[in-house]
Every structure is written in structure tokens, then in C-alpha cells.
């Protein structure tokens, strides 16, 4: 067993500690040890993106790294995105644009979308679609996800209004 400690959703590195089998993935640490079950596992090959979280402010796939690789890092999961009970603007845009159906890909999709606009605030529709290539959704056909990102980009104003 090895000890892993990371800062998670505003809790300090010292506050979040657990003894884990070294082969524990970051997503398993988040889901099983921290019981933050919003981060999902949808594939085995780092393709679907349901496990996307932010580590030190960058989107990463938590199924493709060990928890120990995140030792000392600052991790934000979907549970840490809303502040003081108010949805993050990206979460709000997904709600307003019906950018989710079954909800399973949603946490990863939202985390990737937040990163997308941080990297490219003026992304075009094509750039948005390309930047989301690492996140699979089987329900929405991406149409309303793209709209949600555009609405968030426009400060909450519907893109096609």
C-alpha cells in the first residue's frame, strides 16, 4: 500500500489522504476512496472522456493515470465546479441548452468544455467540435452540447437567438 494525498475540490492536500494499492487509478481513488461518484468510467482505452477531471487546472483523463501520479496535485472534479450552490456558467449552459440526456458523459463533457473555452475563448463551431473529440456522448448527437459551449462563450446568451 502507498499513501496518496491530493488537494480535491478546495480541500487541501493534507486533508485528502488515503492508503491505496499502487495500481489504483486516479478515477478509482476519486470514486471509491473519496466517494465522489460524479466522475465516471466509460471505457478502458482513454477514448470516451467520461472520467475527465482537472489536475492543476488542466483537463486530464483520470482513468489513464495512477492516483500516485497525482500525488500533491490540485484536482477538481465535477462536484467541485459549482460554487456556493450556484452552477458554473458551463453547467448552467448545458442545462439551458439541453446539452445532456442520460447524464453519464456529462461530468467529463462539462470538464472538457470548461477547458476548451479556457484555451480558446473564441472557438468556432468547428473548433469546439474538434476540441471535444476526446469525449463521447451517445445521447445528444453533440448538437446541444455545441450550443451549450457557444452559449457559455457568449456569456449565457443563446447562440442562435
Amino acid at each position: 500500500m502507498s499513501t496518496v494525498s491530493t488537494a480535491v475540490n478546495g480541500k487541501s492536500v493534507e486533508a485528502v489522504q488515503a492508503d491505496v494499492d499502487p495500481r489504483t487509478l486516479l478515477v478509482e481513488f476519486i470514486r471509491e476512496h473519496l466517494r465522489l461518484t460524479g466522475t465516471h468510467v466509460g471505457c478502458d482505452t482513454a477514448q470516451c472522456g467520461a472520467c475527465t477531471v482537472h489536475m492543476n487546472g488542466r483537463a486530464v483523463k483520470s482513468c489513464s493515470m495512477l492516483a500516485l501520479q497525482a500525488q500533491g496535485a490540485d484536482v477538481t472534479t465535477i462536484e467541485g465546479l459549482a460554487k456556493d450552490g450556484a452552477l458554473h456558467p458551463m453547467q448552467a449552459a448545458f442545462h439551458e441548452c439541453h446539452g445532456l440526456q442520460c447524464g453519464f458523459c456529462t461530468p467529463g463533457m462539462v470538464m472538457s468544455s470548461v477547458q476548451l473555452l479556457a484555451d480558446n475563448p473564441k472557438a468556432t463551431e468547428q473548433e469546439i467540435r474538434e476540441a471535444l473529440e476526446g469525449n463521447l456522448c451517445r445521447c445528444t448527437g453533440y448538437h446541444n452540447i455545441v450550443k451549450a459551449v457557444q452559449q457559455c462563450q457568449a456569456g449565457g446568451v443563446p447562440a442562435n437567438a
Partner: protein, 785 residues
Amino acid sequence: MNDMTQTDLGPIAKSVLRREDQRFLTGVGMYTDDVALPGQTYGVFLRSPHAHARIVAIDTAEAAKAPGVIRIFTGADLAEAKVGGLPCGWLIHSKDGSPMKEPPHPVLAQGKVRHVGDQVALVVAESVLQAKDAAELIVVDYEELPAVIEAVDALKPGAPQVHDNAPGNLIYDWEIGDGKAADAAIKKAAHVTRMQIHNNRLIPNAMEPRAALGVYDAAEDHFTCWTTSQNPHVARLVMSAFYNVAPEHKLRVIAPDVGGGFGSKIYIYPEEICCLWASKRAGVPVKWVADRTESFLADAHGRDHVTTVEMAFDKDNKITGLKVDTIANLGAYMSLFSSSVPTYLYATLLSGQYNIANIHCNVRTVYTNTAPVDAYRGAGRPEATYVVERMMETAARELGMSPAELRRKNFVKSFPHQTPVIMCYDAGDYNATLDAALKAADYDGFAKRKSAAAKKGKLRGMGLSCYIEACGIAPSAAVGSLGAGVGLWESAEVRVNPVGTVEILTGSHSHGQGHETTFTQLVSERFGLPTDNVQIIHGDTDKVQFGMGTYGSRSGAVGMSAIVKALDKVEGKAKKIAAHLLEADEGDIVIENGEVKVAGTDKKLGWHEVCLAAYTGHNLPAGMEPGLKEGAFYDPTNFTFPAGTYVCEVEVDPETGKTEVIQFVAADDFGTIINPMIVEGQVHGGITQGLGQALLENAVYDDNGQLLTASYMDYAMPRADDVPSYKLSTHETVCPGNPLGMKGCGEAGAIGSPPALINAITDAIGNNALAMPATPARVWAAING
């Protein structure tokens, strides 16, 4: 497009934002894998690496000693405990009257494995990793047998036998329609269009992999099973009736938040049975969660038809006959509803939107050494639509006619319309959706766009598809007479609390469809109640008395009809109470805006006052029982018939064969719509799955039965940059068959879109010989071949 307004009250036909979003967006949804019970253990299945093999011996001794292992079970343990096999729930008879060949489908392999991924043993351990480690220590001595993969090969003389008691691998040889009449029409025809069509095998890929958590409560002698199900009551029924694990009254099945289904979560699979059974044997809760590779290997696949078709036209280009011969691959075992898909859900739709006097369809289904095949979004109807709409486009090219006009000429124009293949279309306006789609697609401006594309070195093409489907599923007596093992009604219960809040218990199950929002709109509108005062409860057999679940686009047309029936009863009783209290005639009572009023007077009571009166029972009409709670079962009167036209426009890069979908237009008739935003979402998703089938997705086995597309590295899922934004519109003809006039919208996109895309690509490249999926390599070969 919808107006996206949100209101406190939720009137019908408004794009009310979804109430379920909050939990999904903040990560507090509760999917099966999110449930954590004290003392929970983990199950891992050892699966067959061979497509076909005899199991000579299984040695679990080393594995049993591995760290963390609690128990290991094999087929022998299940046989000893007399745990039954998996049934197929729809009995089809061959045309000679003999019943379909349904050999046993054991929960864990008995003596033989019949596809790669067939489950051989269950390891229960304290952690997933320990269970996986131990599974590798199980030694199985296999004697490999020759395997058969393709349906056509399975029927050849001398083909390897998948089951001893299904000679020639034939499950049934079934027909519908009048073969002689169809032959005669073809003989007399002025023109006959002929095609060979393969409908490619797909893997559903709901983003949440299947999972199950079984727990046995020794004190109560009671089982609970959390599972990723679209129909938990059917799961409970099947588990209790067929497996000898737990009787229905001692089994609770909970399907909590479910991350997409698309048909793949209708069926009862071996894994949940095993976990449930093992939880009692091992004395601990047992959880199993599929990894994605297991989903590829062991979820029921979809489609996989090989079809020969002939369509006859008279000299006026009117269709006079259609003859179809289909071989459908059902895989190694018959999944729960697999037999109905290539028969009653397929051949009955071969008339399309057209008036065709003579139709005959023969269907042979076969066993192969591949994963079982069952209903996947559309189930039979995409296969039928693909046959009919590829034929119509091809015929138009052969006849030198505009594809739109050939279709228009042959449309059914008066209703009801009885086809020669069972279905009686009740309402529709096919010209309206065709006109709307052509206009939205700027059909007339296509030639200009094509020549502009040519200047850039791109091949531009346009393709149409005028689909029809049958939803909701038919009257129970009718499907019973056709072989269904269950009724296809739905149930609902409306519980009005003393304070006037309302709980709706529904047998429908939401796994992305937004029932909590749509159903609330219906109830809130009915009594003028704030949406916050309405709660939708589903997915738990201990709460909801019974239900048939959600598939076949049925939750609006059938599920909501049951709610309407129960609401009618509640309203009737509430009015009686109000009439009594207000000393008015029952017929004068109206309920609106949360008030119960005497029409034409200022006499009224609050809704909550009437509800409270029902529960105090202090002053009720003579002989009336207290309380305000009503249930209803709604049995459909007919299938419903959503229909529409899709127009797809593509540009093909001739150098690489890559297709870009430039524009996709959908004009649909879904009957009455409650929440346009949710309906549009369903269509977006459906179209994308259809484009996925036509452009990207393909389940490929090699000759030895190894699945070559067992991960997202090789199975091409549609990604955000593979598809465009869509142009949608709806054009309502009210469905006369149910109280709300709804037809259903969940599958249309997946049904209508594949032929539109392939018609567009073949138009672009000028070569009609192109199979799905139209991968760049195939398109390039078709251009250069």
C-alpha cells in the same frame, strides 16, 4: 426551433428545462456503480477466448486460494442449484408451422462456449483487482471447435453446428405476405429494381456500461438487485419466473439512474442473475460492472441482416410489388426479444410510406458463433427503412425520375391505410414532411452547390429518406397472437397527498429521455399545479406496482396514456368531492390553476382543500372511500406511426474517400409533442446513431470469431466533429389511437438517417455499390473501383 422558455407552471408543448439536469450536472446522479453497500464484494467474469469450444475441464483450485477471493462459481454450480437458462420472450413459428429452435442459453457455460465473451465462471472477491487476478488463475481446458461467423455461411451445407438441436443453424424460416402475388407483380412489371443489401452489425455502446449489484437479506429472506435496466419489472418477472433464484414477491429490482440504453438494457443478461444468486450463496453483496471490452463482447448487438430485394414498377412508375428475402444473424443464443426484431418489427414495415399492393418477405434467422443480436434503437425498422429507401432512390436513378417525385407518386395519401403486411397506418401526411424537408434543404439549389463543390475538387451529393416506423407496440392481445410472451401495455398510479402534492408512479423507465420533466408537464397542466408539487417515481419494483418499461418509443404514447387514464380517475373523484362540498352539480366542476371551481359562479375550493377533504374523510359523498389515489393500465389500441423525410447532403473528398456531412435536414411527424426541446434532443441523438451506422460503426469478427472491434480503438463511434448541427422541424398529424395523440420520437432519427446518408454518398460518387459503413477506404474503393 424551440423557444427554450422556462415557466413555473409547465404547460403542454413548451420546452420546459429538465428537472433531472441538476443532479447530473453536479455529479450526484446515482447510477448502479455509484451504489456502495457495506461489505460489498466484486464479481468478475471469466469469459471464453474462443468462438466455439468444448469445455473439457475447469480447475479453480489455484484461483480459489488467491488473495481476497470469497467464492468462485462455474456452470456446474448453477446446474446443481437448478438455476434456469435465459429465455427468448417471443415465440416465432416457421412457415411449416414448427416452433423456432431455442436451445438452452445457460447463465454460465455448460459444456460448451459459443462465442468469444461467453461467460464461463464468476469470481467473487473483496476487490475488483483481486477478482481479476484470481480469474487469470482459473485453468480451463478447451477443445476448440470450428466456428461459423457470417449468417450466410451458417446456412451452407456442412457449416459448423452452433447448437445440436438447431440443424443447419436455422432458428426459423418465416414469411409474411403473398408470395405468389408479389411474384406475379414482378413478372408483369415494366421495370424491376434489384439489390443486395447488408445491414451492418452494430454494438449499442450506451455510455454507461452494464452493471449489477445483488444483495440477499437473510433476515427478511429477500433479494435486491440494482441493475442497468430499461424495464426493471420485466427483469424481476424473468428473474423470478425462469431462474429459480428469487420469487417475485421476495425480489426487488431497482434500475436507478441509467446511462443510456438504446435497447441494449432491455434484456435480462447472465451477469445480473449470477450476482443476485451469488449474493445468497456467498453471503455478501456482489457487484459487477462491465468494462468497455466486456460491453463490446457481451452486450446484445444490433442489426446484421443480409437481404435480397426486388421492387416492381408499372409503366407509370407506380410500385406494384415488393419481394424481400432476408437472412438475419441472431448470434450464439436467442436474446430476450431477438426473434421479434427481424420479423414483426421488420417485415411489417416494408411497405414504407408507399401504397404497395403486393409484398412478400421471407426471413431466415440463424445461429452463429458471435454475440447474441437483439433490438437496438429502431429494432427492425431501420433495417426495413434501409431496404425500402435504398430501393426507392436506386429505382429513381434507374427510371430517370427525381427521387422526391418517385416517392411522392407512390405515397399513401388516405388513412386509415391497410398494408399487405399487417400494419394499418392510422394517420399521416407524407407530402407535408417531404415538402418541408425539401424546402429546408434547399433542394432546388443543390445543382449550384454541386458545381461549386466540384470546383474545389469535392464530390457533392444529396440523398433522401422517407421513413415510417411503428411505435408504442400494439394491443396486448394482438402481440400475444403473434407470439409475444408478455403484454405490451403500461401502468401508472397517481397518488395525491393530503396537501395536494402529486406523486406519479410509472412503469416507464427514463434513461435519458427526461420523463421526470415531460410527465410533470402533463400533470401540472392537468390540474394547474406548480411543477415543484409533482414528483415522478420510476425504476423501483418496490415502489411502482408493475410496468413494461421503456423501449420502442413507447413512454409517451403508452406510458403517458396510462398516466392520463389514472389522472382521469383522480379528476373524477376530486370533482365528486368538490361538488359535494360546494353543493353543486358534478358536471359543473372545473379544475384549473390549482383551483376547483363551479363553472359560471365564484364558488371554488383550493386543490389542496379538496385533497385534504379526501383524506380527512369528514365530509365525503355517501359511500365514497376516503383517499385520492388511482391506478390505471393502458393497453394500446394500435401501433403508432411516426413518419417523416430526411435529406442529407454530403461532400466526398475523392482523394481520401472521406465523407463530410454538410447538411442534415429532418422533417418529422410525431403527433402531439409535450416538450419540443426534449423531442429535438431525441432526434439529434437518433440521427447521430444512424449516421454512425452508415458512416463509421461496424462490428467485425475475424474468421475465427475474434471480435476485431472490441474497443473504441477500432469501433468508430461518432464524435462531435464527425457530424454537423441538424436542421429539424415537426409537422403534426394527431395520432387517433391514444388520448394525447402522441406517436413517439425516440427512434426515428436512427431509423430514417442511414439510407439518406448512403443515398447522398452514392449520388456524390456516381457508384451505387456501397455498403455501410461508408468508411473512407470503402468510398475511395468505390470511386476508384
